[in-house]
Symmetry: C2
Subunit: 189 residues, 2 copies
DNA sequence: TATAACGTACAGTTTTTTCTGTACAAACGG
DNA sequence: CCGTTTGTACAGAAAAAACTGTACGTTATA
């Protein structure tokens, strides 16, 4: 954890304990973001770092190998939870957390949801087409049409859901969600 | 996969292929829901099943052990993605998917987000209190206050985010989200 | 109450993921 | 242009997760 200068060790103890609680809490709940506990812990560590951190410093603080820090921090950068920053004079790569958690949240779920949406929607549409073509090929086959109807109905409902999800994701991406659910509650009397 | 009666094998092949594509697509993207690929696959299987399914039938279709089906289906039930249904005359447990994907989506993320929110918010508040008390204990220590200020500012911003997330989850739970982002787009001219 | 069928706890195995140390390529400084 | 430093690819070790078969408790039915 970050070195605190000019702070008595008694005070430092309280601060470290307070930080540690939050760091570990964050680390544990990072599975939400599809991240292992130790990478979540790394994120928490960076959160309380008041200046950009090097891989070596991370490794020391986490008591883990530099290799793990390298891969871990890359995961976090890919998810836009951590940013690589440049500092002249330093040859080392430096990283710091993205402090805007609204953005982090929206970025992550936009990314993941849209990826799943696109793949699934594409499969659903392709299969729907095949099934409806099969139906047209045998217009008089009642048994067949009964089966097709239930399958197509399910697919249509799934597509309807994904169309909605698409709009929800849009609102995350363009920030409309903050008009719908405001960041700040208007002052209540 | 479900047995299709009175359907020619040629037709059955097309249907199975169409279903299989969707099932596998769903299975692959279920990691979003923190679910392993095979449990995701099980979910996909149940999706196209037109009647409730027993553990034995699942095991046969998935070519997996009954034990795995038991634990897998329990995971899905816990997530409210699958419902246990009763059928008189049958001693076996029967399961079917929850077809309302809007509900499944809202239930899942409400559950996960709220759990993380509660734990993290609690840690943040506890640590914030400790830090602010430490500040009050040493009112004249400028160095200390500088450190505390940055930490508390970060914590406050995190709390602000969680308060927003709390309201977003509320909208998922009470259905307001569908007023904000409607299920159906009003007809466009 | 006895019997049989069912679901799951549990222990062991296999598979996957995470983590580490070594080695090397790229970038920089002298 | 050579020696250092830095980040990461890669292979192997350690840890975790997924999966299976057996055994057993529970429940429904005879």
């Amino acid at each position: 954890m970050e070195q605190l200068h000019n702070i008595s060790s008694e005070q430092e103890l309280v601060i470290h304990k307070a930080r540690k609680r939050v760091i570990e809490s964050i680390g544990k709940n990072m599975d939400l973001y599809g991240i292992s506990q130790s990478i979540g812990h790394l994120y928490g560590l960076l959160f309380f770092q008041n200046k950009p951190m090097t891989l070596d410093a991370m490794g020391e603080a986490m008591e883990m190998s530099k290799t793990s820090m390298s891969t871990g921090v890359r995961t976090l950068v890919d998810l836009k939870m951590v940013n690589k920053v440049w500092e002249k004079g330093s040859r080392k790569d430096l990283y710091e957390v993205e402090l805007d958690w609204f953005q982090t949240f929206a970025d992550y779920f936009s990314l993941k949801w849209r990826k799943a949406l696109e793949i699934n929607l594409s499969s659903l549409r392709k299969s729907r087409l095949e099934l409806s073509q099969l139906g047209q090929q045998f217009p008089d086959d009642t048994e067949l049409h009964a089966v097709l109807q239930t399958d197509i109905a399910k697919i249509d409902e799934a597509i309807r859901y994904y169309r909605w999800l698409d709009r929800l994701i849009d609102s995350f991406e363009n920030g409309d969600i903050y008009n719908l659910v405001p960041k700040e509650l208007p002052d209540e009397k």
